[in-house]
């Protein structure tokens, strides 16, 4: 499978056509997606038309975009005009987007080819993609294992070589955790860097769109296209990602003592892979420093209160009136209750009810307000840590990919797989998951680097240095 950078280069040099690049993807998908299940739908016709248009441009000598002919998969929670979008939910069965998400449009404007929609946990709620109402996605490294979630289809598509770039969304780790489980790169950009216009909202104070790729260069290329101010998203920031002079020598890498000195629940293989990365960072000239994130023990519970509260409000729009599936009822409220009962799956119902409970009279202070105060404490922890360190190194998930069915009946255990990725969203940081080796069983292990807002460039540079030190 060609990377995005290679594809663009070959197409610009006229050594490859966009149609050939696309047909190669379709061939890989036909051969193996029956087994993997990364895609909910492949957009064969529109993708071929897009690729042909790119080739026509190349033919006539018109300037080509920065993603000329690059096949890209989008998570099934992003709008693409004239195409179906379900968010992995039965409540949106048959929905056809009337408009295109800004992130998707920016890819199209740079001549990328949108090849299909990738499977996901329903409304991005989950860590294994098993909460999809449509199908189970398998981990390409071992099909008995989950690909992670919620952007499991996106991660599996890149890992299986179906496409060089897939878009995901990350509310508490939904790009980085599946990237780690599948052995690819997953970037959660700084909150506000990429427009969410056209992304189905889950938890608006946390959601962010980002790329999953097979190289760090492709992640950088994708972000350079995606990051831009958008007047249609009021949380979209005007300042671009920072470009700072970079020197690996003396770079301070923070190791949170709560994660490293007492790696509770972290498997030996994940801990060993992190040690290797630490050594590579040191041999590349970086220094490591202990930092402390004492309030991170509360991050997971605070996250589930905040994200579920926001979700209970955001998902109020799915009521069977304006779009989506609908069940007839005796009254308006009856239509709502029946439509939502039939349309939502168990995890979504559980989180809506949890959110409604946290926001309800008598419990608001104890849960929602408390969680928001914890968020302040966590932000202070990171502010203090970033005075001692330029970046922070952590595991992505405590273990490698688990077996299908292993955690689906135990919500709290499932939630624990996001323990290291959640603080980044709560604090609005930039975070990236990158491959850090394999377990004895051959399963990918990921490592996570966190940086202050708008320091994505620093993350890319460090990973390049780590890989050179290999």
């Amino acid at each position: 499978m060609l990377t995005a950078v290679e594809t663009v280069k070959l197409i610009k040099e006229k050594k490859l056509t966009a149609l050939t690049a696309l047909e190669n993807c379709f061939k890989a998908i036909k051969e193996r997606d029956g087994e993997i299940g990364a895609f909910l739908e492949v957009f064969e016709n529109s993708a071929r038309a897009q690729a042909a248009a790119v080739d026509a441009k190349a033919e006539t000598g018109k300037p080509l975009g920065r993603l000329a002919g690059v096949p890209v998969a989008i998570k099934d929670n992003m709008a693409y005009a004239g195409h179906r979008m379900t968010c992995g939910s039965k409540i949106l069965e048959g929905y056809v987007s009337p408009y295109t998400a800004t992130a998707v449009q920016r890819l199209i404007d740079e001549d990328a080819v949108i090849i299909g929609r990738a499977n996901m946990d329903e409304f991005a709620m989950g860590s294994s993609t098993e909460n999809s109402a449509y199908k189970k996605t398998k981990n390409p490294a071992d099909t008995a294992c989950v690909p992670g979630g919620s952007s499991g289809g996106s991660a599996a598509a890149v890992a299986a070589g179906f496409c060089p770039i897939a878009l995901g969304s990350d509310t508490g780790g939904s790009i980085r955790q599946p990237a780690a489980f599948c052995g690819v790169y997953g970037l959660k950009p700084t909150y506000g860097l990429v427009s969410r216009y056209g992304l189905t909202a889950f938890a608006s104070s946390l959601d962010q769109i980002g790329p999953l790729t097979s190289t760090v260069e492709d992640a950088e290329l994708a972000l350079s296209v995606l990051a831009a101010h958008d007047p249609k998203d009021s949380t979209s920031v005007k300042k671009p990602a920072l470009e700072r002079p970079f020197n690996m020598k003396g770079l301070r890498v923070g190791l949170p003592k709560e994660y490293f000195s007492d790696m509770k629940g972290v498997s030996g293989e994940v801990a060993a892979a992190l040690d290797t990365i630490k050594n590579k960072l040191r041999s590349a000239g970086a220094v490591t420093a202990e930092v402390s994130l004492p309030n991170s023990v509360y991050a997971l519970a605070a996250y589930y209160i905040i994200s579920s509260s926001e979700a209970s409000s955001n998902l109020g729009r799915f009521d069977g009136i304006r779009y989506g599936s609908s069940v007839k009822g005796a009254s308006l409220a009856d239509v709502y209750r029946k439509t939502r009962a039939r349309g939502f799956g168990p995890e979504v119902k559980r989180r809506i009810m949890l959110g409604v409970y946290s926001l309800s009279s008598g419990y608001y202070d104890a849960y929602y307000l408390k969680a928001q105060k914890i968020r302040t404490l966590l932000k202070r922890d990171f502010d203090a840590a970033f005075t001692k360190a330029d970046v922070i190194l952590t595991p992505v998930s405590p273990t490698t990919a688990f077996k299908l069915g292993e955690k689906i009946d135990d919500p709290v255990t499932m939630y624990l797989s996001d323990i290291f990725t959640i603080p980044c969203n709560l604090a609005g940081l930039a975070g990236i998951s990158f491959p850090a080796g394999k377990s004895a069983a051959g399963m990918p292990v990921g490592a996570q680097l966190l940086a202050k807002p708008f320091n994505e460039g620093l993350l890319f540079n460090i990973i390049r240095e780590v890989e050179r030190a290999a």
């Binding site: 009337p98 104070s205 949380t235 308006l332 408390k370 968020r375 932000k379 709290v412 709560l426 604090a427």
Partner: protein, 95 residues
């Protein structure tokens, strides 16, 4: 922490979700488990801490309240489960 069946019924009503008897049992156990785990938060002293609703301290974004034409009205209207001409039909709202 235990969530009684009547509490689940109350939350489900606020959530606009019709639950089966089986679901009520399931969620009263599961929500109870999740909430007991969340009670861990009480160990953190937040007595002098301000809440954070939004991480970047965003400013208000204002624009003129002017309508813009949508390129494909029909694409929106045809999504409606029940439609009459250019209207979306809903059950009777006012008694």
């Amino acid at each position: 922490m235990k969530i009684e069946k009547k509490d689940v019924e109350y939350i489900a009503d606020l959530s606009r979700l019709e639950l089966t008897g089986e679901e009520k049992e399931l969620y009263s156990a599961q929500l109870g488990d999740i909430l007991s785990w969340m009670d861990e938060l009480n160990k953190a002293d937040t007595s002098k801490v301000e809440p954070t609703a939004h991480i970047l301290g965003l400013e208000n974004v204002l624009r003129s309240d002017l309508p813009e034409p949508f390129p494909d009205r029909e694409a929106i209207l045809k999504l409606a489960p029940q439609r009459e001409l250019d209207f979306i039909k809903v059950p009777k709202v006012i008694e």
